[in-house]
Amino acid sequence: MSNATQSALRGSPRNQPGKARTAFGGIDKSAVRRTATARPEYSGIEQLPEFRELRRKTKLFIFPATAFFLAWYLSYVITAAYAPDFMSEPLVGEINVGMVMGLGQFVTTVALTWLYARFAHRKLDPIVNELRDKVDGER
């Protein structure tokens, strides 16, 4: 593998602390702010039961959620394109099915955002903290 990325991801050797860098926002600085000198053993972490659980839980939420909102959005769009008469059916005064369905998209988007934020905060973040403590402790 080329080592061209080293300056971008690892920090160049010239980039000593205390040395003033004015490199257009420190563009050549490290992406990795390491607290310990040792590199984490990523393949090992990947095999940890906590990590596997984190990965399983994450995927179990994000993929079905994505499938749901895409399906709901596409069915809305296709209805708008091919069944405009249904969408123009008035419900309350001049407010019609299309406007209610459009606002329904707003509601599901906001609700899904809230659900995911809550899920990640309650279920994912604790596992991440546990993992990070474990990895930091080993170094």
Binding site: M1, S2, N3, A4, T5, Q6, S7, A8, L9, T22, A23, F24, G25, G26, I27, D28, A31, R33, R34, R39, P40, Y42, S43, I45, F51, L54, R55, T58, I62, A65, T66, Y73, V77, A80, A81, Y82, P84, M87, S88, V92, G93, E94, I95, N96, G98, M99, G102, L103, Q105, F106, T109, V110, T113, Y116, A117, A120, D125, V128, L131, R132
Partner: protein, 536 residues
């Protein structure tokens, strides 16, 4: 008096008010600029690109919505709703739902694996040089299309204020406005830009909310009555309340609409200037919070645009809007004039201008970072470039992009900005989304797949656009007098997005390059946990 003028000349803005309008507008622009300049000059040079990753989730969330609520969302959507009715509202829905892609799939993982650019993430476990080059090419292309739309919007806005109707005059206005914006970008940085976004987003929300409440109040808080008036003042009549006015003509336009909708919902996940915003927060949790904040604020804003759009149709009338300089894009400013006279017009125009300015600044920064960081420092100099030359390259890139987008803005002058931004979304969804998702979630994905995905999406999008009615063959094309259009759809998304996914898969299976197991494991662990990045 306004009604008298409307009847006489079918023109809402009396031309003798041009000086008053412009003065109020200029004062507001100056005030915002001074604030921004002061914030910008207080920041250290190390804050230039990603603002030292110091913004909180709330600040960044408002800045994200600021980046996103560009001229397209405010001027473009309001105009589209005023003139075409419900079809304009579909933009709002697509723009909003799209944020779920970022929230669920991209934001946190992007923050955990990258530092400056999209190329950082895409090249994480691939061969560095070709992938970085490809990522930079797609970033430049998408940014350029997006910027052209913004330039056209800014030009139209100022032309409206100055009451300039001639094509040449408007072209000059676009050029002058573009130059002013580029000067500002070269002085400001990411920190300054983020503060403009925050200030401007708050101003935009307040203005939109005030106009919405006023409009609803005028109709006794009965939205239905407002819709009746909007339908009466539109030649399409009652049909503007349902879908189909613009896209319902025949099967081609219906398919075009599906194509646009796909691009809208999938495009946000590939927009470089939005993705770059995830780097301005300290960690993945703040990135998640910022997307959540952006989603709340935008949901409210887009509900306001629905009222503003139909309100402009009701009070100004779609004919008067189409007659004004800037066409559809002038609906919101004209509505402001209708309800608050020159003062409100000046304020709204200044807010819209600050919006465009901030978005252009963000776009230029993204493009120049990408070129300087990925192509110059990593591909050409193999990571050995010194900082001064990187600065120089980034500034030159900014200038070149500015010049090209000014020219492009003159060419597309008069097209609806929301439509042009929809094109930029198609580019983003085609060139970046497939490769970004595959490199985050597909173990087997490799360098060949990445390159095939990016270049096939980019090329198909570009070719289909060139040979579409946007460029030639119809009265509202860029070149109406010639006809080399063979692709019937105005938005290529429905073809080019699947093309990039399919080619990325084929490329992966054809590619012989060995996958780097160690880097893959590192990427997976880092994406989910952030281990190896700074702890927040």
């Amino acid at each position: 008096m306004t009604e008298y003028l409307l009847a006489e000349t079918n023109q809402v803005l009396p031309s003798d008010h041009a000086i008053t309008n412009t003065t109020i507008f200029a004062v507001f622009v100056l005030i915002t600029l001074v604030v921004v300049y002061r914030v910008g000059s207080m920041a250290s040079s190390s804050d230039y690109f990603v603002a030292g990753s110091t913004f909180t989730g709330l600040q960044n969330g408002i800045a994200l919505s600021g980046d996103f609520l560009s001229a397209a969302s405010f001027l473009g959507i309001a105009g589209a709703i005023a003139v075409h009715g419900y079809d304009g509202f579909l933009y709002s829905v697509g723009f909003l739902v799209a944020w779920l892609v970022n929230l669920l799939l991209i934001a946190e993982r992007m923050r955990n694996t990258g530092r400056f650019t999209l190329g950082d993430v895409l090249s994480f476990r691939m061969q560095q040089r070709p992938v970085r080059a490809a990522a930079a090419v797609s970033t430049l292309a998408i940014t350029l299309v997006y910027m052209i739309a913004q330039m056209a919007g800014a030009g139209g806005l100022v032309a409206l204020l100055l009451d300039i109707h001639s094509g040449l005059g408007q072209a000059l206005v676009i050029a002058a406005v573009g130059v002013v914006m580029m000067i500002y970008v070269l002085i400001g940085g990411m920190k300054g830009t983020t503060w403009v976004q925050i200030i401007k987003a708050v101003l935009l929300f307040v203005s939109a909310a005030v106009i919405t409440v006023f409009l609803l109040g005028k109709y006794g808080y009965n939205f239905s009555d407002l819709l009746v008036d909007a339908a009466e003042n539109n030649p399409n009549g009652h049909s503007i309340l349902g879908p189909g006015v613009e896209y319902g003509k025949d099967n081609t336009t219906k398919l075009d609409f599906i194509s646009l909708s796909l691009a809208l919902v999938l495009g946000v996940g590939g927009l470089p200037h939005v993705l770059m915003r995830f780097y301005t927060v300290p960690n993945a949790r703040e990135a998640r919070r910022s997307v959540a904040w952006a989603t709340w604020t935008m949901a409210l804003f887009y509900i306001c645009t629905l009222v503003i759009g139909y309100g402009a149709g009701a009070l100004v009338g779609s004919d008067a809007i189409l007659q004004a300089p800037g066409g559809e894009n002038s609906a919101a400013p004209l509505l402001a004039y209708e309800i608050g006279g020159s003062v409100l017009l000046g304020i709204i125009a200044a807010v819209a201008f600050a919006t465009i300015l901030a978005v252009v600044a963000g776009l230029t920064l993204t493009a120049s970072t990408s070129f300087a960081h990925d192509i110059f420092a990593n591909v050409l100099r193999r990571g050995e470039a010194d900082s001064e030359s990187v600065v120089k390259v980034a500034r030159t890139t900014a200038l070149v992009i500015g010049a090209v987008s000014i020219l492009g803005g003159i060419l597309v002058n008069g097209q609806n900005i929301a439509f042009l931004v929809g094109l930029a979304f198609a580019f983003a969804a085609s060139a970046n989304l497939s490769t970004l998702l595959f490199s985050l979630f597909w173990k087997r994905f490799n360098t060949t797949g990445t390159l095939w995905g990016i270049y096939s999406g980019l090329a198909s999008c570009l070719l289909l656009t060139i040979f579409s009615p946007v460029v030639s063959g119809s009265p509202d094309s860029i070149f109406p007098s010639v006809d080399f259009a063979f692709f019937p759809l105005k938005n290529p998304g429905i073809v080019s997005i699947p093309v990039s996914f399919i080619f990325a898969v084929i490329g992966t299976f054809i590619g012989k390059d060995p996958s780097n197991e160690q880097r893959r494991a590192e990427m997976e662990v880092r994406a989910l946990t952030g281990i190896g990045t700074r702890r927040g």
